[in-house]
Amino acid sequence: MDLSFIKNKLVLPLFALFLLAFFVPQSAHGYYRLCGGPCGTYYTCNSPYVCVGAICLQACSADNCGESRGCSRTCPCTSFAPLAPTNFRVTNTYTNDLPISVNFAWDFLGGTQTCGATGWGLNCSGNNNNFRIEDSGTPLTTTTTLTSASRVTTVNFTTWGNHPSVKVCASNDNFATKTCSSALSVTLTAPTPYPTIVISGSFKQKSSNSNVCYNATSQNYFTVTKLAVTPASPNCITPVCNSLPNSTTAYNFSCNITFDNVGCQTAPNYLRPTPGQNFTLSTTVKDYAQAGQWVDSSSTTCKTASPIVAIDATHPGTVSRGISFNYNSRWIKLKDSAFVKSISSTNYVPAIPKSYDADDDGSLNFIIGKAGSSLGLNIGSYAKFSATNNWGAVDYSPQAQKYKSTSSFLEYIKSKKEHQTITSINNVSTGINLIDADVEINNNNKSIFDGKNVVLFLLNNKKLTFNLTSFAPSGSVMFFATNIDIKGNVQTISNAIVLGDNINLLASTQGLKITGNLIAQKTISNNREVADNSKPSIFIVFNPKPYVDLLPYISSSIYDWKQIQ
C-alpha cells in the first residue's frame, strides 16, 4: 500500500484544518476556553487574543480581574511593572557646597517585561511611565512624568554624606509597583573647612609729626578700649580679637578669624563665607584720640596705612600686622622737680616715651630723678608721677599763694628789697633790676649776665623774649615778667629760673630744655611740635643753684611780732 498517498492526500488537509481552528476570527463577545496557540517571534495572535507568555490568550480589560483565560491563566488584577530603567548615571560634576545639585540620567526602553503586550489586564506601560529617584527606597524626587526624549532629572541634596543606593524607579501605577535601575553610590563630601586666619602683631606708637614708630612692650603698653575687625561681607565669618596679654596692659594682639564654610550651610539660605575680602580695623586705646591703624609688622616706621587689610582664607597662614596709635600731644617732662598745678590740668605722657637727651632716662614717669610730688595734674593712663615713690595727687586743689602773680611780688620788692631801676638791659648788675621796657635776650646781650646773680623784673606788663639758641650764663638769673615769649629757635636755657604770668612757647619743631626752673602762673602756651613726640617738647631740669645764688633777692621774710608788755 502506498502510504504516501494517505500522507499527501489526508494528513496535510487535516493538519491545515486543525490550524484553521486557531486562525478563524472569533466573535468579540465570545470566549474560547481553550488555550490559544503559541505566539512569539514567528506567530502573532489575532484579536481579541493577545500574546501572553508565548500563548495567545483572549485579551483582558481592567474589568476582567481574575477571569480565567485557560491554560491556567487568569486576567491580572494589578499593573505590570514597567521595564527597569537602565544606564542610570550621574552626568555632572557637582560642588561640595549645599545644596548640591546632582544631575541624573537614565535610559528607558519602554514596554513591560511581564505584561508582554497590551490588552492583558491593566495597562502595561509603554512610554507613559512615572520616574523618581530614590535613595535606599526613600524618594528624593517627586514623581515625574518624562518622555522618552528627556530622561534626566536633578536632585538637590541638602546634606553631606554617602548615598550608597540611589536608583531611578519607574512606575505606571503611582509607585504602587515600580521597577528600579541598578544602584549608584553618590557620595557628597563636605567642603574642607577654611582654616582660621590669624592676624597678629604688636601695638605701636606713631608720632603725629613723623612716621617714627615704636613697639609696645611689657613695660610700655596700652590700655585697649576697643579692638575689632569687621569683614566687608560678614556672612559666616567670626572674627575674635584679643589684646595680649590683656586689654589693660596690652602690647600684642591677635585676631582669629573663622570662616565657617561647613556649619553655616544650613537651610534655608545655605550661606557661605566669602573667602577673600577686606577687613576693617576698629580699635582705640586710652588717652589716644585717634583710632589705631594697620601697619607693616616689620617696619620701624609707621607709614600712613589703610584701615583695611585684605585676607584670603583660601591662602591660609598667619597674617603679620602691626597696629599703630598716633600720639598727637605735646608734653612736658621734669627732672629733680616737684610740681603743682597753676593752669594745666593735663599733661599726658605717652605710653612709649623716649629720652629727650642723656639727662632723660626715657622712663615712663612725669618726674624723673629726685622727684617730689606732682599735685593737681593728670598725666594720663600710662605714666607714673615718678619712679618708685610715685608721689602725687591728681585731684589736689592747690591754694593760691601770696605771690601768685609777678605784680604781687613786685610790691614786696619795692617795699622790702634793695633794687635798682635800669633803663637798658646793658645796665643789669647783681641784685634786683627793675626795667620798664620790653627786653629781648639774644646773642648780642646774653653775655651781660655772665658772672652776675641777677633778678630781672620787667615792669608794667612789658614782654621778655628769648631769641637765641642757647642761654647759659655763668651766673644765676631769675626772670620775672608778665609776658614771656620763648621763640622757636631757643633750645636751652640754663642757670635760670623763668617765671611769668603768661608764658608763650612759640612754634618750633625743636624741643626746649630748661635747667633751673619754669613757673607759669596764669597761662602757658606750648606750641612746640617736635618731630618725634614720643620725646617731651619741654624738658625741665630743676637746679637748686640759682635759688641759693639768688636767695636774698627772690625771697621774703616771715615776720612774727609779739607784744610782750
Binding site: L334, N390, P398, I519, L551, I558
Partner: protein, 259 residues
C-alpha cells in the same frame, strides 16, 4: 484867814519841787563831768600806750637798719629823740637754740630752714638727729622735705605723712603724740636722722595749715633775727615788743615747677 494858809502851803510845794529838779540836774551834770574826766584819762593812757608801742617798733626798725656784718645792732634812743618818749632800747638775741618753731604756714607754702650759717654759708650743721614737728592745727597735713646740700645740689626729697594727702609709696611715717614745744602742741613728729653737709632744709606744707617745729640735741644755726625792744613814755607808760624775722624764705610759688 483861810486864804493865807493856802498860799503858804503852795509856796512850800513849789520850793520842794524846785529843789528836787535842781538836785537831779546837778546829778546829771556831775556824772557827765566825771565820765568825761575818766574818758580823757583813758584816751590819754591809750595814746601813751600807742606811742610807747610805736616807739618800741621804731627801735626794732632801727636795729634792723643798723646791721653790723648782717646782724642787727642793739640801739638806744634817748629822751630828746622821740617826742614824749623817755627811752627806747633794743636787745638783739644772738644765742642759738635747739628748738625753733615757725608761725602758722598756709597750705602749699613752705619754710626754709637753714642748716648753714646765713649769709656766709661757711659751715654746715651736723650733730644729733633733727626732729620735725607738725600738725598743730585741726587737720593732719603732709610735709614735702627737700634737702639742698653744700654744693647747691638736690640731696634728698621725702614726703612725711600718715594721712592720705598724697598717693604713692615710700612715705616717711611720723610718730603720733602730743608734743608741746614753745607753747605749741604738735601732734606729729618725724626724726630725719643725722644730717650733715646740707645747706637748706625746705619743708612744704601739703593739704592743710600747720606750724612747724625743728628740734635737735645740738644747737641749730640762727634761723633769723629775734629783737626785743622796750619803750617808756614820759608818763612812764612802758611797752615791750619782740620781733622774730626769719632769714630769707623762698616762696613755694617760686620754687615748685608750675604750669
Amino acid at each position: 484867814m483861810t486864804g493865807n494858809k493856802s498860799n503858804k502851803s503852795e509856796s512850800g510845794q513849789v520850793l520842794l519841787v524846785t529843789i528836787m529838779l535842781l538836785a537831779t540836774a546837778l546829778t546829771v551834770v556831775m556824772t557827765n563831768a566825771f565820765k568825761s574826766i575818766t574818758d580823757t584819762q583813758t584816751t590819754k593812757l591809750e595814746e601813751e600806750s600807742q606811742k610807747a608801742l610805736a616807739a618800741a617798733e621804731a627801735g626794732i626798725e632801727q636795729s634792723l637798719n643798723q646791721k653790723t656784718a648782717g646782724t642787727p645792732a642793739n640801739i638806744t634812743i634817748g629822751e630828746q629823740e622821740l617826742s614824749g618818749i623817755k627811752a627806747v632800747s633794743t636787745n638783739v638775741v644772738t644765742t642759738t637754740s635747739k628748738l625753733y618753731t615757725t608761725p602758722l604756714l598756709a597750705k602749699d607754702s613752705q619754710y626754709t630752714f637753714y642748716l648753714t650759717n646765713y649769709p656766709n654759708a661757711s659751715t654746715y650743721w651736723s650733730g644729733s638727729n633733727l626732729i620735725i614737728y607738725y600738725y598743730s592745727e585741726n587737720n593732719n597735713p603732709a610735709l614735702e622735705v627737700t634737702l639742698i646740700d653744700k654744693n647747691n645740689s638736690l640731696f634728698d626729697r621725702k614726703i612725711i605723712q600718715d594721712a592720705s594727702v598724697v598717693s604713692g609709696s615710700n612715705f616717711s611715717s611720723p610718730t603720733s603724740g602730743s608734743y608741746a614745744k614753745d607753747g605749741i602742741t604738735f601732734k606729729r613728729k618725724f626724726d630725719l636722722g643725722a644730717i650733715s653737709n646740707n645747706k637748706l632744709l625746705i619743708v612744704r606744707v601739703l593739704g592743710s595749715t600747720t606750724r612747724l617745729g625743728f628740734e635737735s640735741a645740738t644747737d641749730f644755726f640762727k634761723q633769723g633775727e629775734v629783737i626785743s625792744s622796750e619803750a617808756k613814755t614820759s608818763t612812764n607808760v612802758v611797752k615791750k615788743v619782740e620781733l622774730r624775722q626769719s632769714y630769707p624764705q623762698i616762696p613755694a610759688e617760686f620754687f615748685v615747677t608750675s604750669f
